[in-house]
Symmetry: C2
Subunit: 671 residues, 2 copies
């Protein structure tokens, strides 16, 4: 607001408006996310008063460079403009916009209209000469000569018609004079940021296992060396991240017994999340798992299989953790002199002390916690699955992740927050690379469609990368408890095709483990959180081969490695869900059809928007089910599908699009 001052307001001549910029998260407070090689497509409303022609530029730069690269924007309909750039380097990119009246563009556009209306343009040609002369004074030296020559031509005694034709020629070289008018350019006031991650941040397939259950000898504590022997098995299933729950010494005070009882046997191994004992804390390895040498070897061998080890970061301690004695100021004391254990009243978790993020010594606490991440980075880890980040101070994570990524932009943080939507999204905004989701509990067609449209078709897609898990050690859903083998297959196909990133907690998953600790509980019976388990990996009922097939399809089809192009289709049966993803490869359109009914064969007619998909409507076309290796001839928009859950509950079709008409697809913003 102006006030009553009589000083000339700044920007009185900056007449172009830039607004409605997308993507822009919370007014530019947070970066959007991309992976290397992805485009950033930027749109904005750009307009001005009157009829002047506008030049608009998208400006971008890598954070480490000072100079901006300019991309000329294209006008779409209704004052909407668009341009894009590609990010090809880890770290942060910035982008902003710039637009101005271009008097030469305006003049030439109007000249054309006058010529078409057979008006006398002799004065207009002289106006053009003046504009080009003026532009010459701002131009680079070579352009100056050229512009002056054009101005001379416009003033020459050649006929007005000929002069007009010359400057209206599309090859007229003065057209690149985009600096004309720039002195009064409107600069979009904000520099917006892009966090650029490596590909695995966007496309990853996770396998979670408890290393202590990896022993081939029932009852013997598993080791890193045992885990090594599982690597071919895990690689054959197509996983590229192996995530292990905490590998640190486990406390004994208030240790939980099997099935989360408060009365442990002396040989009970305790929860890996009860971190810390006299042996050490977050920077130590539980001795029964092996040594640091063993750990390094596991990391290296996994790498040979294309598998990266992810560690669990649980910022909490057991009562026996060295911090409790060394840093009593990081915990909250009760008036009776005891330390405040974790609580969600009336529930009590006496085996866990939370850090007090309101501690007066909070700053040293933050630094120590950061040093834990750095410690494991030094030991070769670049992926961290963060336990319950929503119960620690959010400003801490924002600081921590920014700080770590400053030096190690390749690090991936997965947020394990199962809480309300706003805190989950906020964690993603403040830096988490990937996030757990509500997927496990979305079973009905409308629930899945609504949730995944929110995740992929709103601006959530710009900062929140879903990682879909049908199960975790904490989550054995009712669907898996009761749905049998069809449920496990169906839920994995959904996870693996709805999400570019997905994961399972195995071997419980592929071995169809489905007994809950008690009715209505989502806890596993004999949960590995509290005891070792002995898994029969060669069980003929295992889904490992099926999972491997699905994951191979994910690797072979770029369409499944992005979330943005997800689109649901109409099908006349509420028990069948159908959706597609595409990439910029015209041949790579993937259509997934899943029977959500785990008991009965379901069939229906699916409607495809043929034109939009780039499928010629006048001839039959082939759809190839890459899951079943079967080919079908389809024809027209409506086609019949039928799925028996007891055989395979899903089709994953690859459809050949006609490249000639595929350009009618909405511009892919995926690769």
């Amino acid at each position: 607001m102006g006030g009553r001052s009589k000083a000339a307001p700044a920007g009185g001549l900056r007449r172009v408006i830039i607004e409605g910029v997308e993507p822009e998260i919370d007014g530019g407070q947070f970066p959007i996310k991309r992976t290397i090689g992805e485009p950033v497509v930027v749109e904005a409303n750009i307009f001005t008063d009157g009829h002047d022609a506008i030049c608009a530029f998208l400006l971008y730069r890598n954070e480490r460079h000072r100079t901006w690269t300019e991309v000329e924007m294209t006008a779409l309909a209704n004052d909407r403009w668009r341009a894009s750039f590609e990010v090809d380097r880890l770290g942060t990119y910035c982008y902003t916009l710039l637009a101005f009246h271009d008097p030469i563009k305006t003049w030439r556009r109007d000249l054309l209209k006058r010529v078409q209306a057979s008006q006398d343009v002799s004065v207009d040609l002289l106006i053009g000469a003046e504009l080009l002369d003026k532009a010459a004074t701002h131009a680079h030296q070579t352009s100056t000569v050229e512009l002056t020559e054009w101005a001379a031509l416009l003033r020459s005694d050649v006929s007005a018609d000929e002069r007009a034709l010359a400057v209206l020629d599309e090859r007229a070289t003065f057209l690149d004079c985009t600096y004309a008018g720039r002195e009064y350019a409107t600069h979009y006031g904000k520099e917006l940021a892009v966090t650029v991650d490596r590909e695995r941040a966007r496309f990853s397939t996770w396998y979670e296992m408890f290393p202590r259950s990896a022993s081939p000898v029932p009852g013997r504590h598993g080791t890193f060396a045992d885990v090594e022997k599982h690597l071919p098995y895990i690689a054959n299933m197509g996983f590229d991240v192996l995530y292990m729950p905490p590998i640190h010494p486990i406390g004994s005070t208030y240790r939980k017994g099997k099935n989360n009882t408060l009365t442990p046997e002396t040989d009970d191994s305790g929860s890996p999340w009860g971190i810390g004992s006299a042996e050490g804390g977050h920077k130590a390895i539980h001795s029964e798992l092996g040594t640091f040498e063993d750990f390094h070897q596991l990391v290296a061998r996994a790498s040979n299989y294309g598998i990266e080890i992810a560690l669990d970061i649980a910022f909490q301690v057991s009562p026996d953790h060295p911090y409790v004695k060394e840093h009593p100021e990081w915990f909250r004391y009760r008036p009776d002199g005891t330390i405040q254990y974790a609580e969600n009243p009336p529930k009590k978790y006496q085996d866990i002390y939370p850090f007090d993020f309101a501690s007066e010594d909070w700053w040293r606490l933050w630094q120590e916690l950061e040093s834990i991440i750095e410690f494991w980075i030094e030991h070769g880890i670049r992926i961290f699955r963060v336990d319950n980040p929503h119960t620690k101070a959010l400003p801490f994570w924002e600081w921590l992740i920014a700080n770590i990524k400053q030096d190690y932009p390749e690090v991936i943080f997965l947020s394990e927050a199962f809480t309300r939507p706003h805190p989950m999204y906020r964690l993603a905004k403040i830096g988490f690379t990937q996030s757990y989701t509500y997927f496990a509990w979305r079973n009905l067609k409308w629930e899945l469609e609504q949730y995944f449209e929110e995740l992929t078709q709103s601006d959530v897609v710009e900062y929140f990368r879903p990682n879909l898990w049908p199960n975790t050690p904490d989550i054995l859903t009712g669907m898996l408890q009761t749905g049998g083998r069809p449920a496990f297959m169906m839920r994995y196909v959904l996870a693996a095709t709805l999400g570019a990133s997905c994961g399972i907690y195995g071997p419980a998953f592929e071995l169809l483990e489905h007994s809950p600790r008690e009715a209505k509980s989502e806890e596993y019976l004999h949960s590995e959180k509290y005891q070792l388990r002995d898994w029969k990996l060669d069980d003929p009922a295992s889904l490992s081969e099926f999972i491997g097939r699905v994951n191979t399809i994910r690797k072979d089809n770029v369409a499944l490695q992005f979330d943005r192009t997800l689109q649901f289709y109409k099908i006349d049966n509420e028990q069948i869900i159908a959706y597609s993803k595409y990439s910029d490869d015209p041949a790579n359109l993937i259509l997934v059809v899943v029977n959500l009914d785990v008991h009965n064969t379901q069939s229906g007619w699916i409607e495809l928007p043929l034109r939009e998909l780039g499928i010629p409507g006048d001839a039959p076309f082939e759809v190839y089910d890459v899951l079943a290796d079967a080919r079908y001839k389809w024809s027209g928009a409506w086609n019949y599908v039928e799925l028996n859950p007891h055989v395979v509950p899903a089709h994953i079709f690859r459809i050949e699009r006609d490249p000639a008409i595929a350009h009618e697809l909405p511009e892919p913003i995926t690769s």
Copy 2:
């Protein structure tokens, strides 16, 4: 982003997040609009890590005050919080938010859960004592004593049960200690603004007329004194703003003849928008209309009828305007020495010179233009209809309106921009009080529903106040050209009930003037823009009585004086549109049903959401058509309507709601 510095980041202990604040226009760049007495309902997502209880406050202040008033916010579902305040003074209000962990609230909430679970709370009572003692050190003196007494009670030897009961009592006086935890409050980083206007900015009924046609003697130039004689007529129709096209001297160079011809007769009066002659410019009165004294008298007499005079502000000049000689620097010269006239190539408007807003002397130009507004304010005018603001520099309007409203917050500016959506909305954002719309061209049910949902159900409603005109001197729509009397009645009912502000260009409208200058043109034949007209106001076909009835209904029903509560209803006939508006008076629900077919009687079944509307579903209810003064008994959700356009094309029902169930309505944000 943090960088790699090891300095403690600011705000590390400020753990509450405030985001998703509404209303907030373009990240807080522009104010929202309200009128005196209206509430500002503010919502935000407010949450924190973990389980701590939150205290949240909405803070507001009048711009002229330094101190904030605080309103405690209420938690809705899913981390959404709400509070509101009322604006009771013209000018600008500011609002922002503040939220923090409240340890006392957290402690008491958890204590309740523990007591309910029959846990031992003796230590918890001592924790409470510590918290209250701590709060006492921050509190006002009287509270300090009280808090200390409560702490003492918590430490006393009264039984734990009794102490717990005492502090869990809802009347416990320490509950107002909302300052506990405040030292680490999160402040929402922005101060958002509210422009507070007078009621007429929101609810106004405009009548446009050319004063030069007001003469009772055909062919004689009308005067302000003649206009005075029309005041009872205009007041009887229920209009409260009388808007006159420019009243300044009219240029003669390139003057347009009747019907916009280039060959005027010597006695042609010219377009009032061709402003300026040797007699004077924007600060002069066309002598044939009268003197300044006459003008003052008209303004005063109109006021006696509850009518306010609105003037036209057209910032352009005729070639004869004194500015052309006095300020040649405000115009653009062509190489042949002529001044650049207005153009939209290939169209030329030689009778109009636009100001050059890119002039080097732009700042003095701005100041001169501002002085024109001030001049007419000094002559008693507080409403300006601004001609084509979208063809003048937008930064100019932003500066001008802010500057004027600083001293005269009661001034109303109506934006006459018929252009693309973004520039129209931008003009509203940068300060225009009301705006013309696309209403005149929205004829089909889906068009009207879609457009008015955009205007009233999106954040557009926060800054853009539509003023609906079925016609203007420039706009004689095809619908009015061909639809006959039913079209005029139907379009006026729509304008007057869809919009809290509306207007007509009369007497052309009420006298059903409908001949275009030529086929496919929206220009009037014998347009008053270029000649005097002689109107037969006593024509028995006149709609003046009907318009008066509709405008009385607008005055009597607060529901129609706001736009926010507009809601469309299902009706099984595409030719009938139905919608309601309500206010916070439970009895005032207005339901409008309009037949959009100007030829045939149409009927259909309308579905009302009874519960939502506060109508008991189990008994018949009465609907009272205030337009026809007719009563109907309706019953259930579906009811029959039938409208003959040749009688009256609309129902305007008032429905009595049951106040006992009316609270189930969405909270009215209208009054």
